[in-house]
């Protein structure tokens, strides 16, 4: 191979690119997955907006001779109302007549058509959107139907879907933050799914029975939620104690807590249902309903169009990131995970750090439980089943090492999003659920394997660099 200036420049660029890829592999995977999901969901989009409404009005006016009489058909939703308002404004301005207006179901269209026919009225055209243009009564009305043109765009890349993706997985991401701390100390926490359920049920039961049910004040509801989180944190403290004071392997300690907390959640929920029906018959393990409407705000509300669970996730992410990068505690956690003995000898309070880490992990799971309970307007004793595995997958895909000491909070967030995008992309692309499991498993394996190759690629590159500097060419 001839040596030359251009060759070495190309080599440098290649090395830089590889470096960049290697350091941000999970980001690259995430971007790739988004691209694949976009390609797989390239679909016809049917806009229902004020702009498309105005366009329909123009279409009608071009095709229909004045004085034109139009039946407007739409569903009973907010977007539909905006759309219809734009149509009517457009038609009014040109002096067209509105023969009738339907906000509702196909059946309402039929009734309206019957009404118009019954009163001896008539109309020249139907203005509507693509969805309603498929309705039976609209198609068989025997009049020209006008609907906005559609365009092609990936369903994956719509604002509604992207918010969906993140919102749906905000709870997983929140728990994954706590799990990252535990995994950094070379531990594991299998109890998070059960603690999530326990926190949700405790919040719901106390909101109903102690803080006034339907009449509960926001402060009372907050207290109920904090009780739920506190219970989960206490659970974390318990497994932390088992791990530190009694040297029980984290896997076993948290496995025990996982069953214990799930059982407690079920007992509390069933007990509450029994009290609801007045004793006697055994209750059912259904969701414990919270009657106060405000309770649902955290899980279903939104600020500036961004769902609250996403905002909570971002706030916790920033807090966890700062905790791990800017504080002594963060450095202690890495030290404990890197080498416990070395950390102990250099004065790190290992026991306190471990206790705090498990307690925090429990609290994060509890917070996710509150989000879940709020989202479903009640505490579900069956919530969070198998979450521990999804969460651990998110942390590992995000680049943390199960051996401890290596991993970043930002990586975990990306890992959680990778898993979210895989699930959502497969769902929207219409991949059947049995096949989804296979693809999902394979992609997780691939992502983790790629990540595991990183240090090897790096060391190989280093060796090659050394080799190329010491010896000329093979």
């Amino acid at each position: 191979m001839p040596e030359g200036v251009s060759e070495s420049t190309a080599g440098r660029w290649r090395r830089r690119l590889l470096d960049l890829l290697g350091r941000n592999l999970s980001v690259v995977v995430l971007v790739l997955l988004c691209l694949i999901s976009s390609a797989a969901t390239w679909r016809e989009q049917n806009p229902i907006t004020s702009r498309s409404g105005a366009a329909v009005a123009r279409q009608v006016l071009v095709a229909c001779q004045a004085p034109c009489s139009v039946l407007v058909v739409a569903r009973d939703t907010e977007a539909d109302r905006v759309f219809v308002q734009a149509i009517e404004e457009g038609l009014d301005a040109a002096g067209a007549r509105i023969a009738g207006r339907v906000f509702g179901q196909p059946r309402d269209v039929r009734l309206e058509l019957e009404r118009i026919a019954g009163t001896g009225g008539s109309f020249d055209a139907i203005a509507t959107h693509r969805i309603a243009s498929e309705w039976g009564p609209v198609r068989t009305a025997g009049k020209p139907v006008f609907a906005p043109g559609s365009y092609y765009w990936p369903t994956f890349l719509t604002a509604r879907n992207l918010l969906n993706v993140v919102n749906q997985n905000a709870d997983i991401a929140i728990i994954a933050l706590g799990m990252t701390l535990v995994i950094l100390t070379a531990g594991i926490d299998l109890s998070v799914g059960s603690l999530l359920a326990l926190a949700g049920v405790i919040a719901a039961v106390t909101a109903q029975e102690w803080f006034g049910g339907a009449a509960a004040s926001p402060a009372g509801l907050l207290a109920a939620m904090l009780l739920g989180v506190a219970a989960a944190a206490l659970g974390g403290l318990l497994s932390g104690t088992m791990v530190t004071a009694f040297r029980v392997p984290p896997f076993v300690a948290t496995l025990g807590l996982m069953m214990l907390a799930r059982g407690l959640a079920l007992i509390l929920a069933v007990g509450h249902q029994r009290r609801l029906v007045g004793g006697g018959a055994e209750g059912t393990p259904e969701a414990v309903r919270v009657d106060a409407a405000v309770f649902a705000w955290l899980g279903n509300g939104a600020v500036l169009g961004v769902p609250n669970p996403i905002l909570l996730m971002l706030v916790l992410f920033v807090a966890a990131h700062l905790l791990m990068t800017r504080t002594m505690f963060g450095r202690y956690v890495y030290a404990v995970g890197g080498n416990v003995e070395a950390a102990r000898l250099s004065g790190v309070p290992v026991t306190a750090v471990l206790l705090a880490v498990y307690c925090l992990c429990g609290a994060f799971a509890g917070l996710a439980g509150i989000v879940d309970a709020s989202r479903f307007e009640g505490g579900r004793p069956n919530a969070g089943e198998l979450y521990e595995l999804q969460v651990i997958a998110a942390v590992v895909v995000g680049g943390a090492s199960l051996a401890g000491g290596r991993g970043r909070i930002a990586g975990t967030l990306i890992g959680a999003m990778i898993i979210a995008v895989i699930q959502n992309g497969l769902n929207i692309a219409g991949v059947a659920s049995y096949e989804q499991k296979v693809v999902f498993g394979a992609l997780i394996l691939a992502a983790v394997l790629l990540d595991r190759l990183q240090p090897k690629i790096a060391s190989r590159r280093a060796r090659m660099t050394r080799a190329s500097t010491s010896t000329p060419v093979q």
Partner: protein
């Protein structure tokens, strides 16, 4: 060498995964191109691990194709969180209608409300949703209480004049099963009313999860706790079959009669072989077909029965012997 091998493995997995992804996608595309003139129906099934719901899904898909719709089938895996996410995904991808087997009749409420707000009609099949303030366009299900009564009759018939202790393998999370057990208890209560001897006593309700493995484990425990059992009522066939396995292992299969529910193929075979005494049978195929016809009626603006309950019928060994579906 090892590294190259690893890289090759990773590349293969990624390619295979992408291939599976792409393959499925083109499959869906073809389906849409051929028939889906009228749109897509999104179906979130309770659990596709139970053949009952698979039959609903398959008959829905076939019937929908006949009417120019295609069906996207998703598996909620008995998790209402997953089911809610599937509803949101259906809404994001713009389906014409949504069909659910509600996993939790109350907690599914917020998701149904979001569909209501988006103007997408929600139909339920098999299980009903009872959350407040939600609008369900139509429901097709089994008359589960009537089925429970029939199960009680079957149990009375199976035990004869001797009566005895009976165990219930429940799945309380599903309201349909609660109704079945209510019906069963009512039938047994009526039978016991003016009787001092040969009474049938329901000694316990155990959680069988509606699944074969969970039913097996619950029954194995039940045998230990109640050594004098004479009968078991399992709220569906998978848990009835799980119970049968446990009884066989304990050597008690001859002494304990099983009444199941559903009448799925494996259940019918077990009835033919005398392993299950009888089943009130449901008609998931009719459920799937009627649900799709309701959706078509809805979109065509026609009237239809908003709550349609299909009665069950008792299916015994004599029926199984003449059943052409079993060979």
């Amino acid at each position: 060498m090892v590294k190259r091998l690893l890289v090759a493995i990773v590349a293969t997995i990624v390619l295979a995964a992408l291939g599976a992804c792409g393959g499925a996608e083109t499959g869906a595309g073809e389906g849409q191109g051929a028939v889906a003139a009228r749109g897509t129906i999104g179906f979130s099934a309770m659990t596709l691990k139970n053949p009952f719901f698979k039959i609903i899904a398959d008959t829905m898909t076939a019937e929908a194709e006949r009417h120019g719709f295609d069906v996207v089938v998703t598996d909620a895996e008995r998790d209402v969180n997953r089911q809610s996410q599937q509803v949101d995904n259906f809404l994001a991808s713009g389906v014409a209608a949504i069909v659910l087997n509600p996993v939790d009749r109350i907690a599914i409420g917020p998701a149904v409300r979001r569909a209501n707000e988006a103007g997408v009609p929600v139909f339920t099949s098999d299980l009903q949703a009872v959350a407040e303030g939600v609008e369900i366009a139509g429901h097709v299900g089994t008359d589960n209480y009537q089925g429970g009564l029939l199960a009680g009759e079957a149990m009375i018939e199976a035990l004869g004049e001797a009566g005895g202790e009976v165990l219930v393998l429940h799945f309380k999370q599903a309201n349909s099963c609660v109704l079945r057990v209510d019906g069963f208890r009512h039938a047994i209560g009526e039978y016991n009313r003016d009787r001092t001897e040969g009474r049938i006593e329901i000694v316990a309700e155990l959680e069988g999860g509606g699944l074969r493995d969970e039913g097996y484990r619950a029954m194995a425990d039940g045998i230990q706790a109640y050594p004098d059992l004479a009968g078991v009522f399992a709220i569906n066939d998978p848990s009835a079959l799980g119970a049968r396995t446990a009884l066989e292992q304990a050597g008690r299969a001859d002494q304990v009669r099983i009444v199941g529910f559903d009448g799925e193929l494996a259940g019918k075979q077990a009835i033919r072989d005398g392993k299950i005494y009888a089943d009130p049978i449901q008609y998931p195929d009719r459920m799937g077909v009627t649900t799709v016809r309701n959706i078509v009626s809805y979109l065509d603006g026609e009237d239809f029965e908003r709550v349609h309950l299909i009665p069950t019928a008792l299916y015994r060994q004599a029926d199984a012997e003449q059943d052409p579906a079993l060979d």
